[in-house]
């Protein structure tokens, strides 16, 4: 609940601030100014090409890569890695959360190891993953899955345990079986937790992908960036970074869109 009202508060801010009333794009003025300074600095030779390419060059490189290069191919490879890893991680994290959330025994067995593993900076697993799985696709996907599993686990577990006991009681009074309680009360009640977990997990999935793609990749956005480094092509590197950013934004928007559908029953969202 809290998170949604926060979102609303943030999105309604520009409209309610009288300062910005005349100029809706005011918030982005400073961004435009920075890019302009960057462009001018590059043109004057203050920012050498080998340090950072000019915005105009980055744009034309992006267009080139898109039309003639292998940006799309690399993008698809990265997307597939992220999607596979995310799906595996979400399934494992979600499954363990159901086990731990729905039974005391499950909690005893699952929660302690999960809480311990959670404190591990999982990116430090890379050397171990390389030893176990070599340098192919597997370690990259496993790293993404490992990173994505924990936020899903933690938030779904909390979501299940946070289901309103008063609603559970009402369900029991009206004769719902344990299975029906699960389907009609517990799982829908835990949905907000699950989706919060998925959003966190997506962010972490992209982060793990960036790290994973540094492992001797021969395709993918990470490969494209590493390859460009060898040729001092800062323009291609920045294009790769932008693609990463767009992927993150896009997947977040996807989950938000899904949330809007799934939570049509929330009045705060119905008005939007």
């Amino acid at each position: 609940m809290e998170r949604f009202s926060l979102d609303l508060a943030v999105s309604s801010r520009p409209a309610s601030l009288s300062l910005s009333a005349g100029l809706p794009g005011r918030r982005y003025l400073s961004v435009v100014a920075i890019v302009a300074c960057w462009q001018i600095g590059s043109a004057l030779g203050l920012i050498p090409m080998r340090t950072l390419a000019a915005p105009s060059i980055i744009l034309s490189t992006a267009w080139d890569l898109l039309m003639h290069g292998d940006l799309v191919g690399n993008l698809l490879v990265s997307l597939a890695r992220a999607a596979t890893g995310f799906a595996m991680g979400a399934a494992i994290g979600g499954g363990l959360a159901l086990v731990a959330g729905l039974s005391r025994i499950g909690e005893d067995v699952v929660d302690a190891p999960m809480q311990m593993l959670r404190t591990l900076p999982f990116l430090a697993l890379v050397p171990l993953l390389i030893l176990w799985f070599g340098i192919g696709e597997t370690p990259k996907i496993v790293l993404v899955a490992f990173g994505a599993a924990f936020p899903v686990y933690l938030n779904l577990f909390a979501g299940i345990r946070g289901v309103d006991t008063k609603l559970l009681e009402a369900g029991r009074v009206f004769g719902l079986s344990r299975r029906a309680l699960l389907a009609h009360v517990v799982l829908p009640g835990a949905m907000p937790g699950l989706l919060t977990g998925m959003r966190f997990a997506l962010g972490i999935a992209w982060l793990s992908l960036v790290v994973g793609e540094q492992i001797n990749a021969s395709s993918g956005i990470g490969f494209m960036i590493n390859d460009a480094r060898d040729f001092l092509r800062t323009d291609i590197i920045v294009v790769g970074l932008l693609v990463y950013a767009l992927l993150g934004l896009g997947s977040d928007a996807l989950i938000r869109g899904f949330e809007r559908r799934a939570f049509a029953w929330r009045p705060s969202l119905m008005g939007r």
Partner: protein, 247 residues
């Protein structure tokens, strides 16, 4: 326990119900019979064990080991809060747990009866407090309960809505005649609705009054006023008859 006379269908029997929370006895060897189709109000100050008694009747708390708790089925409860599932539409909430192909029609009919025919497809969070509580009432009625338990169902409503809801409950009780127990701390509400009023204090029933008031009830009825004073006194409220002001 001894031999008990056989129980009529729809009747409620409690014997020797004791519940402790820590040192405190919330219910202390309580016994109670409710006649089939009767309307009883249970009055008590907060913390007197009213809700604990209702939860025992609803089998939300397990019956104490050496107690007798006999209730007719089905039993339906209207809680102080509507307790509607926010992710199900109003009719789905009413139809919750109903079997059969006609569940939707039955839910629709029940909602019609409480005046919510226009809101079948609404989301619960868009309803006002009174509407949500009426939906909760429909959810209870649609099960055609033999025992209807009302746990301070109007406490959270504004005064005008409360009056309308009380009239509605009286009417629904007249039509469907379930054995009904309303838990309340409002003496007027008890006298307006019920034919028998119990006062619960320290885990025991300290007063058991058959009101004998004619329906529809009138606040100005002299007998109503006498009963009101008596019940307030039972509840330990000092009453000043000359001014009508509670001191």
């Amino acid at each position: 326990m001894g031999a008990q006379p056989p129980l009529a269908a729809g009747a409620v029997r409690l014997r020797n119900v004791t519940r402790r929370f820590g040192e405190r006895r919330v219910l202390d060897g309580l016994s109670l019979d409710l006649a089939p189709g009767s309307f009883t109000a249970l009055l008590g100050r907060s913390g007197s064990g009213k809700t604990t008694l209702l939860r025992t009747l609803a089998h939300l708390d397990p019956a104490p080991p050496d107690a007798v708790v006999v209730t007719p089925a089905p039993t339906a409860v209207v809680f102080q809060e509507p307790r509607l599932l926010p992710w199900k539409r109003v009719w789905q909430n009413v139809a919750l747990g109903l079997g059969g192909d006609d569940a939707r029609d039955r839910a629709g009919a029940a909602l019609q009866e409480v005046g919510l025919g226009q809101h079948l497809n609404a989301w619960p969070l868009t309803l006002s407090g009174g509407e949500a509580q009426r939906a909760a009432l429909a959810r209870a009625l649609v099960r055609e309960p033999k025992l209807l338990l009302l746990d301070e169902p109007f406490a959270a409503l504004d005064a005008l809505t409360r009056l309308r809801m009380q009239a509605m409950v009286a009417e629904l009780w007249r039509t469907h005649a379930p054995t009904t127990l309303i838990v309340t701390h409002d003496v007027d509400e008890a006298l307006l609705l019920a034919d028998r009023v119990l006062v619960l204090a320290d885990g025991r029933i300290t007063a058991d009054i058959v009101t004998g008031l004619a329906r529809p009830r009138r606040h100005a009825d002299p007998h109503f006023i006498v009963l009101r004073q008596r019940l307030l006194a039972e509840l330990g409220v000092d009453f000043e008859p000359a001014t009508g002001v509670i001191a």
